[in-house]
């Protein structure tokens, strides 16, 4: 049997180049960022898996991504057009808000599901744990771009002005993605400790949607409440930005752009740092 006094022996290994040393770690947030860049092909595969597996056994396949928002719009249009019919091109107004909102709600919900699904995986193999939230956002963006097709169609049918402003659409999409990723990272950190978050979030997101001017115009909210209901709601700025490009055909005001960007990028930063600071605990809990 060997006498296992390692400490002395170890000192002679200090000149050997190790590729990993648990004592020489940079900041977890930065390390995670480098790691996710190294694993970019995995993100692509995870997104592909999400999209392919979702529709593999259905006949209409990817077409569902376009039919889903259209169907939802149709239902809401029937219900609410009597109430808000005075809004010009209400169908386009509704669908533009709905597309942006479902992107947000689907991405954040799927981030929670992914980390729970990934629990089995991350106990077996090393991978950057942000991959689950990042790939959820990626899947969301692909679906969002697919649902832009029916949106353009509705915008054309309802004679909304299509201007060069539409070329700026990637900017609110990027900001929405950043915001959804930030929220998704925070939520999945909670969800690992408290699986109930999944259920709770479904209620929160429902309430949040009705508090955001998606199916109603923002001017129906009384002046005195606007401060609370609109200006403190991050999604208000992001949806307004998205909508003004595609529905109004103009650039949003500078105010909206600045506030929206600060909120979106700030949320992403906080979410990323928070997630990475808690990452090491996941394997102990999940």
């Amino acid at each position: 049997m060997e006498n296992y006094s390692l400490t002395k022996e170890m000192q002679s290994f200090n000149e050997i180049e190790f590729t990993y040393d648990s004592q020489k770690r940079k900041s977890p947030a930065l390390e995670e960022l480098f790691s996710i860049i190294r694993y970019r092909d995995l993100i692509y595969q995870l997104i592909r898996r999400d999209i392919v597996s979702r529709y593999k056994r259905s006949i209409l396949g990817v077409l569902w991504t376009m039919l889903q928002p259209l169907g939802m719009m149709l239902v809401m249009n029937i219900v609410f057009s009597k109430l808000f019919g005075r809004v010009e091109g209400y169908t386009a107004y509704l669908l533009s808000g709905l597309v942006a909102w479902s992107f947000f709600s689907q991405t954040t919900t799927s981030a929670i599901h992914q980390i729970v699904w990934g629990g089995a995986l991350m106990r077996r193999i090393y991978l950057p744990l942000t991959a689950f939230s990042v790939s959820s956002s990626g899947t969301g963006v692909v679906n969002l771009f697919l649902s832009l097709l029916p949106l353009f169609l509705i915008v054309l049918i309802t004679h909304r002005p299509i201007t060069w402003a539409i070329l700026f659409l990637p900017i609110p999409v990027l900001l929405l993605t950043a915001f959804a990723l930030g929220i998704g990272l925070m939520l999945s950190t909670f969800a690992i400790r408290f699986p109930d978050i999944k259920e709770m979030y479904q209620i929160i997101i429902q309430a949040w949607m009705y508090l955001t001017p998606i199916l109603y115009p923002e001017d129906i909210i009384p002046e005195s409440y606007r401060h609370w209901v609109l200006y403190l709601n991050p999604m208000y700025y992001l949806i307004k930005m998205f909508r003004s490009l595609i529905y109004d055909g103009v650039l949003p005001s500078l105010n909206i752009i600045i506030i929206g960007s600060v909120i979106a990028l700030g949320t992403l930063l906080i979410g990323w740092i928070y997630f990475s600071s808690r990452m090491d605990e996941f394997a102990y809990i999940a």
Binding site: M10, S22, Y39, D41, S53
Partner: protein, 261 residues
């Protein structure tokens, strides 16, 4: 021979894995609190008591280049926890981990497989899961399919595969690239005799090319046949480390003694 081995060891052998004073402690709430509401209530009452569970305490380990190192012990001795620490899945509560090179874990085959995707699509997914680029996986695709012996079904969804086929595909993906560190947890018990022989040949080739293997098995014959050195874990502590034959004999003796009592 033994002296030669030791001399060779001290001069040429380079460590690939070094664990120093590794402890892993789980803090499990005494009564399992799973809901947020309960947690808040308990927290307000200051009643969240934690029971500490030591999965590993003060474990030192050194594995050199080209070594097949075995880990034995009874269920719950901390074998799998140790493998998780080495594969960087689990950050130890205390201690230092140093690794040289890429770790390829084969803890449970096909953990990342998706039943609706075809075998081919799953190869791409799992290859990138191991940290390879898509191009790297694509260039080795034929080799992976060939080794796994499922060419005819490679474009069928994975849910139609038998468990043996899934295991073969998993092993094939994980061992197509020569890793610096290979981690095997009880996987040699899957597959038929012929495939197992193929796996052992591949492991031997890796060893000759300098790959270090960390192997957990309950089958002492496998351990004795493959490993150069062995660590015996008991209740999270190192009971003994040394040449495979010595430790296996010790372990067997203690098991027999226990059975008699």
């Amino acid at each position: 021979m033994l002296i030669l081995h030791k001399v060779y060891n001290s001069f040429v052998m380079k460590p690939v894995i070094i664990l120093e004073k590794i402890s892993v402690r789980y803090r499990a709430p005494e009564a399992r609190i799973r809901t947020f509401k309960e947690y808040i209530i308990q927290l307000l009452r200051r009643k969240v008591r934690f029971k500490e569970f030591r999965a590993l305490s003060n474990v030192d380990l050194r594995v050199d280049e080209g070594e097949i190192f075995g880990i034995i012990g009874r269920n719950g001795a901390g074998k799998s926890t140790l493998l998780k620490v080495v594969s960087r899945v689990l950050m130890p509560t205390e201690g230092r981990v140093r690794l040289r090179g890429r770790v390829s874990p084969l803890l449970e085959l096909g953990a990342g497989f998706h039943p609706e995707l075809t075998g081919r699509e799953n190869v791409l997914l799992n290859g990138t899961l191991l940290g390879h680029s898509r191009r790297e996986v694509e260039s080795r695709l034929m080799e992976i399919i060939e080794f796994s012996e499922i060419d005819a079904f490679i474009d069928s969804p994975l849910r139609t595969y038998s468990s043996g086929m899934v295991a073969r595909l998993g092993f094939s993906i994980a061992t197509t690239w020569k890793p610096e560190i290979l981690i095997l947890d009880e996987i040699l018990s899957v597959g038929d005799e012929a495939f197992r022989a193929k796996c052992e040949i591949r492991m031997a080739r890796f060893r000759d090319e300098g790959t270090s293997t960390l192997l957990v098995a309950h089958d002492m014959i496998t351990i004795g046949k493959l490993c150069s050195r062995v660590m015996w874990l008991d209740h999270g502590e190192v009971k003994a480390v040394g040449l495979a034959k010595e430790i296996v004999d010790l372990y067997r003796a203690s098991q027999r003694a226990k059975k008699k009592v």
